[in-house]
Symmetry: C3
Subunit: 463 residues, 3 copies
């Protein structure tokens, strides 16, 4: 069975509203993609090798997909985790369980990718699995399906990677030096393992950081080392750093107390409360450095990582069992905002997986602090219905211009256009409703739709 | 004034979407009812006596109705609680306050029941109250309105009751033995009073349990006794047990510590923290037994029972003042899921009255753990708008197949078809929107609509 | 560019549903305004002076507007806070940043006010700023734009102010005595500063209260003093008191313990826990007094005031950085409701800025306790989309009659009709959907639409 994509997908069902949305979407459908936060590695574009097989591309690397297969009873091992699996069998397994994906964001993206990137409109099902597999495989060998060719075809103007602070960023430098590639690929400073005493190997990470930078083994040296590495990232074009925490809790400590905690956490001798304080204080230190060096600070909060220890031990992190928890920003971020929230040029973008904070905390914060931006719907919430809920919860308090613009946050390079396209459709749908409800004029809606893919992310991320 | 039911009730307002929904609904409207969780007693069907008067049927037993009358200033006593009241006067009281019910789920169900079960389309109001009362009364004396006749007319294929672990389930056995009744009526193991040290009469309940099973007065004996009674339920056809807790919090204890807590809670000497630990550990023990015996474990969490002590003391439990609280599953269930979440064949269905957990916790958990299912909207949330919010919050992360199927959870036998019908309409409405938004093809929507009333509850509840 | 108001603004986009909504709205569009809670001072109407300049009117006094300008980087000083600013420049600043307001409730109200009060339909933008400024200024000098003339033109039947307990309410008395003014202007007792040990100047406030009433310096004297002042308010026509708290937490204390806490908090010697207990107990005392004197008790909970200390110190309170927090009513209000929740005639209206409590706590509480009413959407949530979410979350459990009716809660006198009109449109939109979904008949919807602007607020606020 074939099913071509509905050209009006995600647009409102009411005909007149759909017509308005179609106009709004049409004007931005082909706009260049700004992707200021994601997980595609720079090497992918530097090396420009053909992509692997369809299973690796659409299943193995995508923990949105593997988690739902796992929930259906498919073992991680069958999916190739912790070893290798026959890619064709993995693909067939996906086809066998494809009905479980109906209605999910993953299904939406995959159908879109197959149709728009590979020109495959066959419905995925057991009987079509092999045929689709073969067609994808054949395409992946064509030069037009190499990363750089797709980068151009996708009209990606800016792509941010996410990188370890000790990364030398050689791939980024090489890409910039390569005159045959004209895209902007920016590194992003992701310091979690050096900031969180509960991160695996924290003490070793800090030791490596100090050694690599030649900084003294003191708290001041540690801060210098971090600042130095941020400087390296800035020099290589970085515009932002990204911090991931379970709780967005901050604390403002004196230098002596911070130094005392630093000693404790390095020796593994700190209490849970001290480790929490250290972590919370380092968020504040990251903000301080951003005030100084201008890196936009993005905060992704509210996910309890590796919920299933048995799965983590067998297959490692990012295997589909990171589960959100209730999150509190108003009090938790207050120490940071008391100190830096009014600083000119400071940008703090708040991402959440707990929808309750949208109207209650994020929009009010971004509606007052010039530094605070409401991050686009993230992770589980990066999906069409969730996007409507997000805009509805945020807009009436904070408008459109205090938001971040869409981020795809993905390591699945081929899904980037589908994800941005979904966001553009969702925004067009939202704006069309406001137009039809007499709340925004059509001219304003057109301007906003354009800003949301252009001026808004450029401003929030200082692109 | 009469008002016949709108045949398109609960379907989307957009004409084209409504047409799609009508098709989807039409294909399942007459499908048999699977009711795997509810509170109708088996005796009702065994004895097959005529129902009582309209007031008893629609007011007295329905704390959804009595609570809102109470909120309007009608005393519990007037409604017959704690004694008797003239049923005709109770019914007139309902008619007097019927405008307060407009828009509620209760009003929807009652109108549907009057029209579809009793063929009464007069609007309930003071002037029609007596007439409607008389018509219902007359009908209730007809053989066609006895429980078994209605069971058949309602096309109920499976009906689960909820029973005390010490119940001998004689009614269930007698029903099965009765060749003149062909419906499946299954018991459900509801052990709360034997698990929760804060339940009234807990020590006495445990003593009765041990005595009835001849188990020794030790923690091991207590576990044996529970397992033995589960075995009895299994032998009588049970497919699930149901646990109700205020907080879904679990803890994994060693045998010695558990035994120590058992001694404490039996003697009434345990601290609040120890009582909480015991309760949380027994949830985990129930899961362990389910891994062993295969009973599906359903968890209804988040309601603070008997908020008004004065009302509880005068009129007992289930009198309309159980009030939800914020609920946390991600951390609370982790000890249980760490131990049993990946066990093949284990099913844990999570029901919530705190909507915030739908997208934040339940869908992500059910989207990874093969054991976890997202329970249908429950109690206050078993209503058309709330159902749309639930599907919207759950589907994009967990799809349709990781949910439980509808449960009516009711002791109001006559409302069962209205409730299932409402759920079918709500699902058709949701699916139609996804079809019209180009997210699901019509063939897939038709298959899903059917699965939601058939394969989905059969799989989740092992029917 | 001009843009006249859409006569169908805020009504549903589906044409047939819009037609139903238009009928429902039309029948109440011109109904008198009952404004039982707000912040317009009585002096405004007593003195009946011309309003000031457009900047003062639409920017300076409206922290909804100043906060979003501040978030755009405009300093409080530029906006006239803590001194004076050229009003024309302030107005131009608003025009410069007007695009940031698109989609917000503030933008909706301002456009409505300009069009319906001032007959100005030019779109606000830099090029039109001066022209609009001049037109407003000219109008403000006309007699028809004085407060009393507008009061009549707005068809305000009742307007409640919010007043300090020690206010002599002379303005209210003078207004009542003034035969040339026929509107009802009622005081509201707002005792926060005398109840909350953490309020600035608490001890001094209590001392002034005791001195003013001649009450002894004991806890009993303090309670007497409060009761006496409530009596004064009642004598001047007050129907309600209003309490604002961060957490709606109550505690029932014995007289000796309460007296001990009173001594502690007066001397500034109480611990945080004792201050919390005192505050929580005084909520309960306010309820007790309401049971006795009949004043409706409104509770506005869940906002952390003055998030940015630096802004508070420089510019004072109500400067746009009050930020909501997660709120808990079920357990927090239980001591109060255990004691007074069933008392005949007691009214407790609960307002929230945490949407999660709508379906989880407020609707279930109001669906049982005759004393509890669900307050209309408040503050950040007083906006069209948020209103739909609120009705959707509340109605299926509590119906329409257990709600408060709309409150505008504003100090912006000119925005009162726009706000009430938006609420009427939102309710018509909601009801129209229920009509079209076959859940409410048209006659019932018409009655409810009318009740929501008339019988409902009259009942809840005892008008």
């Amino acid at each position: 069975m074939t099913s071509s994509l509905d050209p009006d997908r995600l647009l409102p069902v009411d005909p007149e509203t759909r017509a308005v949305a179609r106009d709004l979407y049409g004007a931005v459908a082909e706009a260049p993609i700004l992707s200021p936060h994601g997980h595609v590695p720079a090497d992918l574009l530097l090396e420009n090798r053909p992509f692997g097989d369809p299973a690796e591309l659409f299943v193995g690397r995508d923990h949105y997909v593997t988690r739902l297969l796992h929930a259906r009873g498919v073992s991680m091992t069958e999916l190739g985790a912790g070893g290798s699996a026959d890619p064709r069998r993995v693909w067939r397994t996906l086809a066998d369980h494809w009905d479980a994906f109906a209605g999910t964001a993953s299904a939406y993206w995959l159908r879109d990718e197959l149709a728009t990137v590979f020109d495959i409109t066959d419905e995925l099902e057991p009987s079509s699995a092999d045929r689709i597999y073969d067609r994808i495989s054949a395409r992946l060998e064509e030069p037009a399906f190499r990363p750089r060719a797709l980068f151009e075809r996708f009209r990606i103007e800016v792509l941010a990677t996410t990188d370890d602070p000790l990364d030398d960023l050689a791939a980024h430098a090489a890409l910039r030096a390569d005159t045959s590639f004209t895209g902007r690929v920016l590194p992003t400073f992701r310091p979690d393992r050096y900031l969180d005493p509960d991160a695996p190997g924290f003490a070793e990470s800090v030791a490596r950081l100090l050694e690599a930078t030649g900084a003294p083994e003191t708290f001041a040296g540690y801060l210098d080392a971090l600042q130095q590495r941020r400087g390296h990232f800035l020099a290589q074009g970085a515009v932002s750093l990204d911090v991931g925490v379970t709780e967005p809790w901050t604390v403002d400590l004196g230098a002596a107390e911070a130094a005392r905690l630093f000693d404790g956490v390095r020796r593994g001798a700190a209490s849970p409360a001290d480790r929490r304080s250290f972590r919370g204080h380092m968020l504040l230190q990251m903000a301080r450095m951003s005030v100084e060096d201008g890196l936009v600070m993005t905060l992704h909060a509210g996910v309890l990582r590796n919920h299933s220890s048995r799965t983590f031990e067998a297959f490692g992190p990012d295997t589909g069992h990171d589960i959100p928890v209730a999150t509190e920003y108003t009090r938790g971020l207050r120490p940071l905002l008391e100190r830096y929230g009014l600083e000119p040029g400071f940008h703090l973008i708040l991402f959440a997986v707990d929808e309750t904070v949208y109207s209650r905390e994020l929009a009010p914060l971004a509606g007052f602090y010039p530094s605070v931006y409401v991050g686009a719907p993230w992770w589980f919430l990066d999906a069409p219905d969730a996007m409507q809920r997000w805009r509805s919860a945020v807009t009436e308090t904070a408008g459109f211009l205090r938001t971040s613009g869409f981020i795809d946050d993905t390591r699945a390079f081929l899904s980037i256009p589908a994800r941005h396209d979904a966001a553009r459709r969702a925004d067009a749908a939202f704006l069309a409703r406001y137009v039809r409800e007499g709340r925004i004029g059509m001219a304003a809606a057109e301007r906003i739709a354009h800003d949301l893919v252009d001026a808004v992310p450029r401003a929030a991320f200082k692109l």
